[in-house]
Symmetry: C3
Subunit: 274 residues, 3 copies
């Protein structure tokens, strides 16, 4: 397996991988994450036995914070496109949604922005009681680049997708489950065991059945590559505008991208006067 040091892959068995994401201090998604994820997805695509993959976080408070606003994002835009013809992060998401294995996010802590887009492109989302999901991009003045609009509309319906994306607020586990943003929230302390039992169950089934059935669900809910491309283009047009700068600066002054401070309640802080 090639290098993907932010993603620790534990092969529980040939058919079941547990992947632990760690990018201290708060699991930001940066350019290395995008590159390593591309590689990891390729491994998942090519493994003939792999039937189920569980994604979890090494950080109990942050599953994946969001895209690193200090990364040289222009490098993403100028990198060669991936196998889907999309720019790297969009390519990650679309390919992830189509790997033959079933993918499960076991969400503890905060998952926002590009992190939320990641879990939306895994097949199944189970949440711990401390999970918090959100798409704060509109609060930053930007259209979300990973097209959560498409996945959320399908999962939670137009009205709730509008609320989540345009409001840019945090959605705690219970509300996320009521809306359908996650499959369900497990009682305190039960997430890991529940997910492990569920994953072992599927890992014991024939891959032909699992992959074959997944293809049908995917086909019924697939999002055209062009929609991912259009969202990334809209993000690029809106994210770097001078009028967004003051709010972003103010959030950095209050601890953005740090373990304490505004990241704990980003949904609240992104809407504050600055």
């Amino acid at each position: 397996m090639s290098n993907h040091s932010q993603f620790h892959v534990h092969a529980v068995s040939p058919s079941y991988w547990k992947v632990t994401f760690e990018n201290a201090p708060i699991n930001l998604i940066d350019l290395d994450t995008v590159e390593q994820l591309a590689d990891l997805v390729t491994c998942m695509e090519e493994d003939p036995d792999l039937t189920v993959v569980v994604f979890q976080s090494a950080n109990p408070d942050f599953f994946m914070a969001h895209f690193d606003l200090l990364s040289e994002i222009e490098r993403v835009y100028s990198t060669a496109v991936g196998p889907t013809g999309l720019l790297p992060f969009s390519d990650n998401l679309l390919r992830l949604s189509k790997v033959p294995a079933v993918t499960i996010s076991a969400i503890n802590g905060r998952v926002r922005g590009a992190g939320s887009e990641f879990v939306l492109n895994t097949d199944i989302r189970f949440a711990g009681t401390n999970a918090i999901l959100g798409q704060p991009e509109v609060g930053f003045g930007a259209v979300p680049g990973g097209n959560p609009m498409g996945r959320l509309a399908e999962l939670v319906g137009r009205g709730r997708a509008m609320e989540i994306v345009l409001g840019g607020d945090d959605f705690p586990a219970q509300l996320a489950a009521e809306y359908g943003y996650v499959n369900r929230v497990l009682p305190e302390g039960e997430l890991d065991d529940f997910v492990d039992i569920f994953a072992r169950r599927i890992a014991g089934f024939s891959k032909a059945g699992v992959s074959g059935a997944k293809e049908f669900v995917d086909a019924a809910t697939a999002i055209p590559a062009g929609d991912y491309a259009a969202a990334m283009a809209a993000f690029r047009r809106t994210a770097g505008r001078p009028e967004n700068a003051d709010r972003v600066r103010s959030l950095f002054e209050r601890g953005l991208q740090q373990p304490q401070g505004v990241e704990l309640d980003l949904g609240k802080h992104v809407a504050e006067k600055f």
Copy 2:
């Protein structure tokens, strides 16, 4: 701004309008409503700063009752089509769903028939505990004309859309939230503040982000103009049939379109022997 006396527009700020609907005694939708709504939607489309619009009712018991059965509806059919190429009320609904600002219905009291179709074409529906939603048209012998079938199928799924539309019954706030007919129901007395805080939040965001993201959710859930046209044609074919007349007459005798009487529990009364 042109005349739309049934819709009182209060510009809380350049980016946030609060629109209060009033058409005493029970907020029926009549031909004036349709004309004024067309004008209001045009104002919303053309305002460069407007980012969020909240719709509320001046009547705590009726958000919008339903279409006025005593109006000269043939005038709607013979009026020139709107910018979408649709007849006036259908044109209202489709254009409303696509205005660049985000639209929010803060629902207190009853909203049925064409009123339900109105809120289904706003982006977000928040409900008070006393909200009651429904599509009683099938009970009157008619296919609903504003195509709630399309919006409800997307929001609540085929099974619940069939139940709501074919059963023609009332859906109280809590059940409506469980089904996804509304985003959520707020606790007693909290609706107005909750909606105001939510609206101010979005009003403080950059319009480019809000409108840009809305476009994607809309595109993922858009209903073709032809479906609105087909529903209105089906309504026209079925609504005025002689076989419906006895039931309608009986309902009028029991207080239809009056504040007391059958309007309070129309879902129940529309199915009664007559």
Copy 3:
């Protein structure tokens, strides 16, 4: 009416039929069921007065168990296609979803596999507290043949459809309602009366309104015949493979297709070591 002895049809009135399914001991779906259902659907299509049909089970523990694994299923594959151009069982499902009358499943007990596909192609699903739904096919090594992937994706969203179909587990009534697999679960002892009142209500409405409105919901959620055909082809490719044989044999040894034993908790047993 022609022969369909497994389906007892009681015409409560010209517009309202109650159909009771019985195929002792556990309401398996066999080749006779498929043939009789085709006939029953034709009767439903042709009856000019029929407005609402309720399906219930004579067996309080099993609504419809699943397809009879001991039937000569090759006969299905070699039978002439139905009016939709699909093989018989797929033809049943697609035609059922489009009959002009509204169809309601009143679910008591277990309904899995092909039985779940049956209820997913009726319009409305109401459940008793003892209802248990599931698609165990993937546990047997097979892609489900009746394309529940398509209906479930529309009803419960991609994430929950993946969980239901790929996990192959049982979904008790309450969880099924939270996911949208059924419309709602009625309190203990109230299912039959609730459904009867609901059905009588619609039976009293004009058929033109009911059928006309149903057509719109159906059009908004229709599944192309090709998807049913593809799912049946995938089932045929995966269901009979030698590698599935040990698990199936082990389940038969533990009571598969018998009233007691593994059928009571098939979701659990299908994933057990064998």
